[in-house]
Symmetry: none
Subunit: 523 residues, 2 copies
């Protein structure tokens, strides 16, 4: 059994761009508990009032399996443990497991704490034994252990011994600056495992892009706790990414980290945490990213359709992810066919419609469309080509005006006239740009006829200049991502006029939603 210790709520909050509300933190605690994480480091109650408040709120929450951990430092130099404010805050957190971090690199003791090496050992011993004797489960995080070991191995080992002697259940070796290599980690962890009597943990940072390797290597050397963060969030380049460590240990190396049945939740847990943290989910993330099992090269696609093992290191479903076949100039016919069949299952490779659709798509790709990542527009185009598309509204006109100077915060105005079943509607709206104004006016016009559109929000907007040498006369491709909170879809437009391209993508977004609603009704 490897104990997984998540710190996305504490070290994760040190990441640039992350700032949780108390509600956010409660949501993540519940999700991690459900997922089967052993230890959830919930915060540092002594460091800020928000965390102290959060621990109060946490008392009312029912946790099924996880141990919730409060994190804090050893007492300050030269005072009694029970007089330290940080220690008091930990006592008030109301949890049974405490993680105490202390210095194990002599440089930090002398240059940062500015105290003696002996006093630092006392600080570790006193603080750990204080909590252990009060009946708490204590984990000791040896900050900068690897750098410390390289600088002064003897002293670094003494800091661990102080914590172990004081009653720590785990001593955790931290590569705080993320500069260590796997072979160093293997060697040093092995030595510690042979010299310290309590269980050993690893806490790696990703500054050298080696945090996952270092964590797995430490386990192979005998560590039984892995500290890291869902999605690898954390200070600077982040902490060790648990989304890559858990499947490697459990699916490939046979260690038990979380209940077997829960591994399938990995992708959704990863997306949930990024959603709550308000961070874009990185599509290139191993195991859980949208591109992790996305095949683009024609040769790869061809092989994967013959045997998925040929280009997949694990089965995407085992971690709750899925295979995606991307379309591009480097992919062949069979890819497009499998996509068409999802929309119209009766078509075969030799149907005349298939050839017609493929020819049309190739023509559009040549003109700058790229259907990879625009499944919504792809769906509509195939439906249109098959004569099965039902238009839900007509656009009579739009007009959009930009001008400077401008006397308001909004800098564009748009007018839109639509018609649905012969009933016309004219609306106008302002926006902080022409597309924003058009979007607002169009929604206002259509929501009267289709209230279901109120649930649709745009979540992403991308612009790619295609032949940028054409300079301002260049063709652009606009990609819009929309969501109704249940499903996400992407649509696109291509034009030399960015307003037109954006408009086409907006129209597709709405038509896709309405078409899908029809599909649902027919079922």
């Amino acid at each position: 059994m490897i104990y997984i210790y998540d710190s996305v709520l504490r070290d994760g909050a040190q990441a640039e761009g992350i700032s949780y509300s108390v509600e956010d933190k409660l949501k993540i605690v519940k999700k991690l508990d459900e997922f089967g994480i052993s230890y959830i480091e919930a915060g540092n109650p002594g460091s800020n009032p928000k965390d102290a408040d959060f621990f109060k709120r946490l008392k009312g929450v029912s946790i099924k399996n996880a141990k919730v951990v409060a994190f804090g430092s050893t007492r300050r130099p030269g005072i009694k443990t029970d007089e330290d404010n940080n220690v008091k805050a930990l006592l008030e957190a109301g949890v049974n497991t405490i993680c105490i971090f202390g210095k194990s690199w002599d440089l930090h003791v002398t240059d940062v704490l500015r105290t003696s090496l002996d006093e630092n050992l006392n600080m570790i011993y006193d603080t750990v034994s204080f909590f252990a004797s009060e009946g708490y489960e204590v984990i000791f995080d040896a900050e900068h252990f690897f750098d410390g070991y390289k600088a002064n191995a003897d002293y670094a080992m003494k800091t661990l011994k102080a914590a172990a002697d004081a009653g720590a259940k785990f001593v955790v070796l931290c590569d705080t600056n993320g500069g260590s290599f796997p072979d160093e980690v293997y060697e040093i962890v092995s030595k510690v495992v042979n010299n310290i009597s309590v269980a050993i943990g690893i806490h790696a940072h990703n500054d050298s892009e080696l945090a996952v390797a270092n964590s797995i290597t430490a386990v192979k050397a005998g560590a039984s706790m892995v500290q890291g963060c869902i999605n690898g969030y954390g200070e600077r380049t982040g902490n060790a990414n648990l989304c890559s460590i858990i499947p490697a240990l459990q699916l490939k190396l046979g260690y038990e980290c979380i209940p077997d049945d829960n591994i399938k939740m990995l992708t959704s847990v990863s997306k949930y945490v990024s959603e709550v943290a308000n961070m874009q989910h990185d599509n290139r993330m191993p195991y859980v990213g949208d591109s992790a099992f996305a095949h683009k090269g024609g040769m790869h696609i061809d092989a994967v359709l013959k045997n998925t093992r040929t280009y997949e290191h694990i089965d995407p479903e085992s971690v709750g992810n899925e295979r995606r076949i991307l379309m591009s100039e480097v992919s062949g016919k069979s890819t497009i066919l499998s996509k068409i069949k999802e929309i119209e299952p009766t078509l075969t490779k030799n149907s005349p419609e298939t050839k017609m659709i493929i020819d049309e798509l190739k023509k559009m790709e040549y003109e700058g469309y790229q259907f990879e990542g625009a499944e919504g527009s792809f769906y509509l185009i195939v439906k249109k080509l098959l004569g099965k598309f039902k238009k839900h509204f007509d656009i009579k006109y739009f007009k959009v005006i930009d001008q400077i100077p401008w006397d308001l915060q909004t800098s564009a105005t748009a007018m839109v006239k639509v018609a649905v079943d012969g009933i016309e509607e004219v609306t106008a709206a302002e926006g902080n740009g022409p597309v924003n104004a058009l979007d607002a006016a169009l929604r206002r016009a259509l929501e009267r006829f289709y209230p279901v559109l109120k649930s649709v929000v745009l979540t992403d907007y991308k612009v790619r200049v295609l032949n940028s040498d054409g300079a301002t006369a260049a063709k652009v491709r606009v990609l819009i991502e929309s969501s109704d909170r249940e499903e996400c879809w992407s649509t696109m437009g291509v034009s030399t006029n960015i307003i037109q391209a954006s408009w086409d993508a907006l129209i597709d977004s709405i038509e896709y939603k309405l078409a899908k609603e029809e599909d649902k009704k027919q079922k």
Copy 2:
């Protein structure tokens, strides 16, 4: 010496969201050459007509140091090497180094190629010896070597021997599915190094977040070539990230990869490639990301201000990056200073103007400006802040209107009113988009006063959505490149309104040209 082999133009193009134009590829070749990459894998001329076209264009480009590589597969089963279309395309590429990839996993030979194990060995031998005997330097990429070795070690070794016997200069072991662990890589590479007489390379994919670890481990086991991609772009989760491998090998482990003086270019090369590929630069990237040396935790900031080693594994300046102290902007002077001195040589580190300029630039960067690749705008801002900027024209207003339906090919109309020395001029123009129309109207208005502008053409136009979560209300950065056939310059604008951002970049482009004309006259 470790040979660095970049494949961002070939394997990188397999990444979801990347689609280079021929111009983009030429720019990246030049940049990688300047950086000191030994081998640049430029494309697969047999796989698509765009790459073939690109190799034609490449013939006119002067490359200083790098070897440009054309990539392609072994001949197909059952035919002669010189009859294979892919082989013919490689011959036509006009380069001296060829990378041939072949199968080393028996499963792929039988299930994907559907040929015999012996024929596959012949295919490798024939194709490599064909090029070697024609005088080409040949690199053999053994696809799926690690999976193949685990399944059938004897056969996998035979594929390498076939390539070595046929005259390959390097045989490269590929972890194509990215599923291997560093300890496996170490063991297997060591065995190959002891059994194969030619130089060994490593080619790792990041599906287990271990590509950097596996690449470095292979070098420690005796590999002398590392294949990877700048920024780790590539199929699925990407290829081994050269931006993390190069500094680890060169700065920490003492191997020579690129000229010592060029390591400082790492961050700017990384940003340049992401800009050209139109991919958001990942701020969490080790070494080169904006957050890589960004300190947020109060304790960390405090310690770093006492001694930077306390929370930094390397000096950020050694890779051209900089320390950032989040929420209390006090950093990064020296980089900017050297740029300011180019414009105003009298300024020193301690001039009050320097501090003022840096503060202003930091504020603008926070708002989304990025001065890398926009030297024109940078020049104007510094001049303006120093009170040395002379305005050449005033904009009284612009108005631009888009509407559908439209009865002409042009889809936007713009009106611009300018004033020069009290003389006003109103012009109007049509365009195939709003920016194109504005550009035309503005030039028409100003050329009367400044005929020198007739020589200026816009050569590039790029749009980057900054906070794409804001959807159509998002902020965009527009980058424009201009040329007067002697010099090129780039300018930018940032706004939530794409028209405004484009307009600002246009104005800067013209003001820069006119300011440079003045500078010339004064000399």
